[in-house]
């Protein structure tokens, strides 16, 4: 803040006596005044912060211990003191001094590592979401352009890729599966990625293959399916999130959907934990949970051996956010010949791929990509497959594979792809 932006009453009384270094009563010099006014902060910002609960509820109990900023995965790629610091942002919010022009507001992936350890129980990911919401709703501050583009594409086309809605329907047609009709056991909610991204499409195709093989009575919603809105909400666009939620909930109700499986942990999280606020009660499972259940029931069996060393990367929204650590591993363990090796940071300590919180739609500097660090960890284990169970993780790891500059024989695969491989073609 400069002196010009200070209120008149301070400018008015500015004199040598008021703002000088003094020594034995003599003024030695005038200080350049860069101090921040504490008792006259911007009321508009204060009100916005209070309105969204950022100042009063989500940041108030923070005691500045720095656990969040020490555990933040960004410390693995940068220790720039101007980088993301949840601790500093919480303190600024407590004082009503949030800097909305700062890029760091958009760096958080909402991976939840900080929340899992905060001794005061501050919901830091909610805090980040609320800050972004202020920026979006008040039109104030820095709002990254690529995120704006993704959001408007979701608003107008129902997907973040800027691709025509028709394309969603066309690819679904190629799958040769029934649309969901009343009375069916299960809805498979594909999500946006498989429709527009050829790499992730492979995962969805394999899940479908397995479901068909087992003889599960399932269908899809086709073009009635909209983006679940997870990243939309985390990116602060509450209004758009609500309209997407309503559109999906409408489609679920219209078709009599009771039980859903999803490709993405993000869709899973949203249906399971966020849609209930709109009064819907659905049975939601992630596909890894569903497959693990099928294995337990003896309906899904793997008879083809995969002689590979596999290490598994826990996605944030399956692990930390929803406590699902075992089911994906159960699938891997039941594949004959497959050896599961753990990375040192696994389970609750898993390192985010960098794709959550809307970051998947933003460019991340090459040297700040968390997947690069994680890929190194995976290579260190001696594994030849890094298994994932989230479209964001898959996409980010495939990107990193292209840039890693050391000898390795590692591949990135979704658990569904490994499972499909272990089922012999008949």
């Amino acid at each position: 803040m400069t002196i010009d932006s200070k209120p008149d009453w301070i400018k008015g009384i500015k004199s040598e006596l008021d703002y000088g270094w003094r020594y034995h009563g003599n003024v030695l010099g005038i200080l350049p005044d860069t101090s921040v006014i504490l008792n006259e902060s911007d009321t508009e910002i204060e009100e916005a912060l209070a309105d969204k609960g950022v100042k009063d509820s989500s940041s108030a109990s923070c005691f500045q211990c720095g656990t969040c900023s020490a555990i933040c995965p960004y410390t693995l790629v940068t220790t720039d003191r101007n980088g993301l610091s949840a601790r500093r942002m919480l303190h600024e919010a407590q004082l009503g001094l949030t800097n909305f022009e700062s890029e760091e507001t958009w760096l958080c992936t909402t991976c939840g590592a900080c929340v899992s350890q905060c001794p005061r129980g501050v919901e830091i990911t909610d805090f980040m979401k609320d800050l972004r919401r202020i920026i979006v709703e008040y039109g104030a501050g820095y709002y990254p352009k690529s995120l704006r583009t993704a959001m408007s594409s979701i608003a107008s086309l129902g997907n973040p890729f800027g691709e025509p809605l028709k394309k969603r329907a066309t690819w679904v047609k190629t799958l040769n599966i029934k649309p969901f009709t009343k009375g069916m056991e299960l809805l498979y909610f594909l999500g946006c990625f498989p429709a527009y991204d050829p790499r992730v499409r492979k995962v969805a195709q394999d899940i479908i293959g397995i479901l068909k093989k087992v003889g599960v009575d399932f269908g899809i919603l086709g073009s009635q399916e909209s983006c679940c809105g997870e990243s939309v909400r985390k990116a602060g666009n509450e209004e758009l999130f609500r309209s997407l939620a309503h559109s999906n909930i409408h489609a679920f109700a219209e078709n009599g959907v009771k039980k859903i499986i999803t490709t993405s942990p993000h869709c899973y999280h949203t249906f399971k934990n966020e849609y209930p606020q709109f009064g819907v009660d659905l049975e939601v499972t992630h596909y890894t949970q569903y497959l693990a259940q099928l294995i337990k029931e003896g309906r899904l069996k793997f008879s083809k051996a995969l002689n590979r060393k596999v290490t598994y990367h826990d996605p944030c929204y399956l692990g930390r956010h929803n406590g699902i650590y075992e089911e994906p591993r159960e699938i891997l363990r039941s594949i004959p010949g497959l050896e599961l090796i753990e990375m040192p940071d696994s389970g609750q300590k898993s390192v985010c791929c960098g794709g959550g919180g809307g970051r998947i739609w933003l460019e991340t500097k090459k040297e700040e990509r968390l997947t690069n660090v994680r890929l190194e960890q995976a290579i260190e284990t001696g594994a030849n497959v890094l298994a994932v169970s989230c479209p964001y993780c898959l996409t980010n790891f495939e990107d990193s594979l292209l840039t890693v500059d050391r000898e390795h024989g590692i591949q990135v695969k979704d658990i569904a792809e490994l499972a499909w491989e272990a089922i012999p073609l008949s």
């Binding site: 211990c65 656990t67 900023s69 020490a70 410390t75 350890q117 001794p119 129980g121 300590k349």
Partner: protein
């Protein structure tokens, strides 16, 4: 009515309560579940802030309590049953098949160190060189397992780089301990000075959230530590890890510099906080008194009657009502003796 007082707990608070009651001419029975007197303090070679011997302090108190002719000591004994209204309590012990008539009961049951393995991110119980402050205390004790040498558990190497992590298990909503354990900043600082005295070249870093050296002589001791070269970094350690050679890595943010940091240490000591003694709920039920939200015994009135339990005739001393340094425990016991005397004085004089 009986004017005998039953004291639960033979630590410093219980012993001093018996001594003070004796001085006032009141009989008491000091009941201690362990086979010897002295509670936690008998294991401390040095106590803060004046580096006196805890063992000597206990010996001194024990000599005085044993010399007090109105005090009966029952070791290896617990109170199993209490009934009746004050001042007509009937108390049963597990060592005799008879009832004792008591006019008042003093609870001086102390504390239990927090189980550091519950704070999983620090790896206590998994990483050998992550130890608790209590274990550090015994390593620094010339009569301890290492004869006072700071040998780390994994390979017996003398630790040269030591991290002391404050507020372990305290001030933590996740673990249900929202309170500050009050003495950890000070005993940790005392330990840092002891290490520095023995190993002047050791690098010691204390990681803290706030420094609370509030008592008489505590702040001076903090300054002494800094002047001896102990580093204090304001940041709560987020997690510990282990290297193949047993060294411990820690992740923390120096919140003053706004800089995330990683450090490698030979030994990490967790300054665990304290919880109420494990029997507290059982004792509270037996006596019909309440525990407060923090799990320690509740008081009749937190300002005016901090040493009175929530029922008449039952009094509280020492760490049973929240963590405090030794002098405060002694002061509590003296206060309790006065409260007991006042309670008896208020009772109608009846023929006994």
């Amino acid at each position: 009515m009986s004017r005998k007082v039953i004291i639960l707990g033979g630590g410093v608070a219980g012993m001093q309560a018996a001594i003070a009651l004796n001085d006032l001419g009141t009989e008491s029975i000091l009941v201690e579940k362990e086979p010897e007197l002295g509670g936690r303090v008998k294991n401390y070679d040095k106590i803060f802030p004046f580096f006196q011997s805890g063992k000597e302090l206990v010996k001194d108190l024990e000599k005085r309590v044993r010399g007090a002719h109105l005090v009966e000591i029952k070791l290896g004994t617990t109170v199993t049953h209490v009934e009746g209204q004050p001042p007509h309590f009937q108390v049963r012990l597990d060592t005799g098949n008879y009832e004792i008539s008591a006019g008042a009961i003093v609870v001086a049951t102390g504390f239990e160190p927090f189980d550091a393995s519950l704070q999983e991110e620090y790896g206590y119980g998994i990483y050998q060189n992550v130890i608790t402050a209590t274990e550090l205390e015994s390593l620094l004790d010339p009569e301890g397992p290492t004869n006072g040498e700071l040998r780390r558990p994994s390979d017996g190497k003398i630790a040269q780089r030591i991290a002391i992590v404050f507020c372990v298990g305290s001030r933590n909503e996740k673990l249900g301990h929202n309170y500050c354990s009050r003495i950890c900043c000070s005993f940790s600082t005392k330990q840092a000075i002891e290490i520095k005295k023995k190993y002047p070249d050791a690098r010691i870093v204390c990681f803290y959230i706030d420094i609370r050296t509030y008592g008489r002589g505590f702040e001076e001791m903090y300054r002494q530590a800094q002047e001896a070269g102990v580093n204090y970094i304001r940041g709560r350690v987020a997690e510990c890890g282990v290297l193949p050679n047993g060294d411990i890595t820690i992740r923390v943010e120096d919140t003053f510099l706004g800089k995330p940091m990683q450090g490698v240490f030979d030994l990490v000591s967790l300054s665990h906080g304290m919880t109420p003694c494990l029997d507290a709920p059982k004792i509270a039920t037996m006596l019909g008194i309440r525990l407060a939200e923090d799990g320690f015994f509740d008081c009749m009135d937190k300002e005016l009657y901090a040493n009175d339990a929530t029922e008449d005739g039952i009094f509280l001393a020492g760490a049973a009502i929240g963590m405090k340094p030794i002098p405060d425990c002694i002061a509590d016991s003296n206060a309790v003796a006065a409260r007991v005397a006042a309670f008896f004085a208020k009772m109608p004089k009846e023929t006994e």
